[in-house]
């Protein structure tokens, strides 16, 4: 094997163990667990309340836009954690780089905002 790949060997072990563990737990629960279904148990779980309507429902496209924006800034936050931890070593140049990165995303946010895409009351 390529020496560069050997550092991935522990990862392969973890993946194999995770699959074995998951299958074992599911299998044991299936084998050993008692099965006494009643109406309440076999109805879909919806935060403890009685389920209403179908699982597939039309919903407003605004949710989708908001979720997309959330993902963008969530990923930005992921980038920022390692950067913030090592900022002391990296110094000001890295601050400028991250500021440019953040500003670029803010431009996108401003665009979406001014377009009215996250204006909740707008019909």
């Amino acid at each position: 094997m390529n020496p560069a790949l050997q550092s991935y060997f522990p990862l392969a072990v973890v993946i194999v163990l995770a699959v074995i563990l998951g299958l074992t737990l599911l299998g044991l629960a299936n084998l050993l667990g008692p099965r006494r279904p009643n109406e309440a148990k076999s109805s879909p779980f919806e935060f403890g309340s009685r389920p209403s309507g179908l699982g597939r429902d039309r919903f407003d496209v605004k949710f989708y836009l908001l979720a997309l924006l959330f993902v963008v800034f969530d990923v930005e936050a992921v980038f920022m954690y390692p950067w913030a931890v090592s900022l002391g070593d990296l110094g000001w140049p890295s601050f400028v780089v991250m500021a440019v990165f953040g500003a670029t995303l803010v431009v996108g946010l401003v665009y979406v905002w001014k377009k009215g895409a996250i204006d909740w009351s707008r019909e």
Binding site: P93, V110, K114, K115
Partner: protein
């Protein structure tokens, strides 16, 4: 950390990104302001990026992941020229359909920035990011008119198949990494074995999709036909230039390193692709009466001739000749195809969108008798058709000649024969448009006058095609000079 040198080397790319951001903001803040500044701004940023190319220092960037050399500079120039010309075309086309918005140009600028980055990339990961930046922008451009049935259909087909191709490319990159321990193209040196061959094959599949090489071409006619004409022009010129630039770089890196590739397997696979692409592209174009679809199949056929240039570049005896032939071909094709699509845009029916009901919107009969009604427009279209067919004295002839000369230098006689024969086949369907314009009586209603910006785009493209056709030396010398700084 990026130094001033790095930023100067990346300046063309950064200017295009900046332009996209400026256009996005101006769209929401200058909403009530006058329309029409968007294409002007786009052209200004494209020109600034092109002007920054000669000042970009020659250097390796991001620890070897990219390089700002003459080759990248040439590709940047072609992309910027394509962007500027298609922005001129977009101005007239979108305005007459009341769709002139900053988003169109912002997407085009983002796409161009991806293309420029792809021209510089020497690393599979960076290339993947560049391809995605380019592709996502182009998918959205295809869907831009929203109304009508064709644009969303075209965008959806392009997106699904394009994502599939990107996934294959990524899978190939993963295998490549497994075989060499690096994603750098230079890591192929000294490598070999089945894993590397498998990775390279998958990467080749992904790139063959982007350049529309047979058998990965099936998306091209529907996407080219359904997308708004200025976007089609931009993707035909830009995506092809960027993807071929990276393909050429990859092939050059491959023959520089691995012993197994030279001449045998690589030449065989690429040769098969080239022959299939030339034959199938031209054969399918033959029965097309729809001019826009015909240009799509022609774009497939042109990818075949470009592949011949890439094969010549892979042989040691014709390396420089082949690489510069690819560059010359890309420049000539970009200008010609944008010109041809500009004429098509003028001839198009002026509904809000070309929807499914107007399948005859681009029928060749619309060109009947054009020469007597719009002599200059017909003359320009004739020039573009002759250039695509490779008839002298046009840029297309210069490009085909240099590609076939390079292939002859590589002693790839089979490819030269197939190339020349299929070119002769191509003359038939290109000349059908010319025959309709000059020898058939007018049937259709009077075509609308060309908007001034579109007229400028057509005139500039036609002029470039003819000037390069008469004196090819500056262009070929520039392409050779680009290689010396590679």
């Amino acid at each position: 950390m990026p130094s001033g040198q790095d930023i100067a080397a990346l300046l063309p790319f950064l200017l295009l990104v900046l332009g996209a951001l400026v256009l996005m903001l101006s769209e929401v803040f200058l909403r009530s302001g006058g329309r029409g500044y968007q294409s002007g701004l786009t052209i200004a940023f494209a020109a600034a990026a092109a002007l920054a190319v000669p000042f970009a220092p020659q250097q390796v960037l991001f620890g070897g992941q990219a390089v700002s050399d003459g080759f990248a500079g040439f590709v940047t120039m072609v992309v910027c020229a394509g962007l500027a010309l298609s922005a001129l075309l977009g101005r007239g086309w979108l305005e007459t359909r009341n769709m002139e918005r900053g988003e169109y140009y912002a997407l085009a600028l983002f796409g161009a920035s991806g293309m420029v980055l792809l021209g510089m990339a020497t690393d599979l990961l960076l290339a993947f990011i560049a391809i995605e930046v380019m592709s996502l922008a182009v998918y959205s451009l295809a869907a831009y008119p929203r109304r009508g049935q064709r644009p969303p259909e075209a965008a959806f087909k392009y997106f699904i198949l394009g994502s599939f191709a990107s996934a294959i490319l990524l899978y190939g990159s993963a295998l490549y990494y497994g075989a060499t321990g690096s994603t750098l193209l230079s890591a192929m040196r000294g490598g070999g074995g089945a894993l590397l061959a498998a990775g390279l094959s998958l990467i080749l599949v992904g790139l063959a999709f982007k350049v529309a090489a047979v058998p990965f071409h099936a998306w091209t006619p529907d996407v080219y036909e359904g997308a708004p004409t200025p976007a089609t022009a931009f993707m035909a010129a830009g995506v092809k230039a960027a993807a071929f630039a990276f393909l050429t770089r990859g092939v050059l890196a491959m023959v520089a390193g691995t012993p197994f590739a030279v001449g045998n397997e690589l030449g065989g696979v690429l040769g098969l692709l080239a022959v299939l692409t030339m034959v199938v592209g031209n054969l399918f174009a033959l029965p097309q009466r729809n001019v826009k679809r015909m240009l799509a199949y022609s774009s497939i056929a042109q990818a075949g001739y470009l592949l011949v240039g890439v094969i010549a570049a892979s042989r040691p005896e014709s390396r420089a000749q082949g690489t510069s032939a690819v560059l010359v071909y890309l420049a000539a094709y970009a200008v010609t195809v944008i010109g041809a699509f500009s004429v098509l845009a003028v001839m198009e029916k002026r509904e809000p969108t070309p929807d499914a009901g107007s399948a005859d919107a681009w029928d060749v009969s619309r060109f009947a008798g054009l020469a007597s009604r719009r002599p200059w427009l017909a003359f320009a279209m004739a020039i573009f058709m002759l250039s695509l067919a490779g008839v002298p004295p046009t840029a297309g002839f210069v490009a085909k000649l240099s590609v076939f000369q390079a292939a002859a230098g590589a002693k790839a006689w089979g490819l030269v024969v197939v190339g020349v024969l299929t070119s002769i086949m191509g003359v038939y369907y290109y000349l059908r448009v010319v025959v309709a314009m000059y020898m058939q009586p007018a049937e259709m209603e009077e075509p609308a006058a060309a908007p001034p910006t579109v007229a400028i785009a057509i005139a500039v493209a036609a002029l470039l095609v003819v000037v390069v056709g008469f004196s090819p030396e500056p262009l070929t010398a520039w392409a050779r000079a680009a290689l010396l700084r590679m």
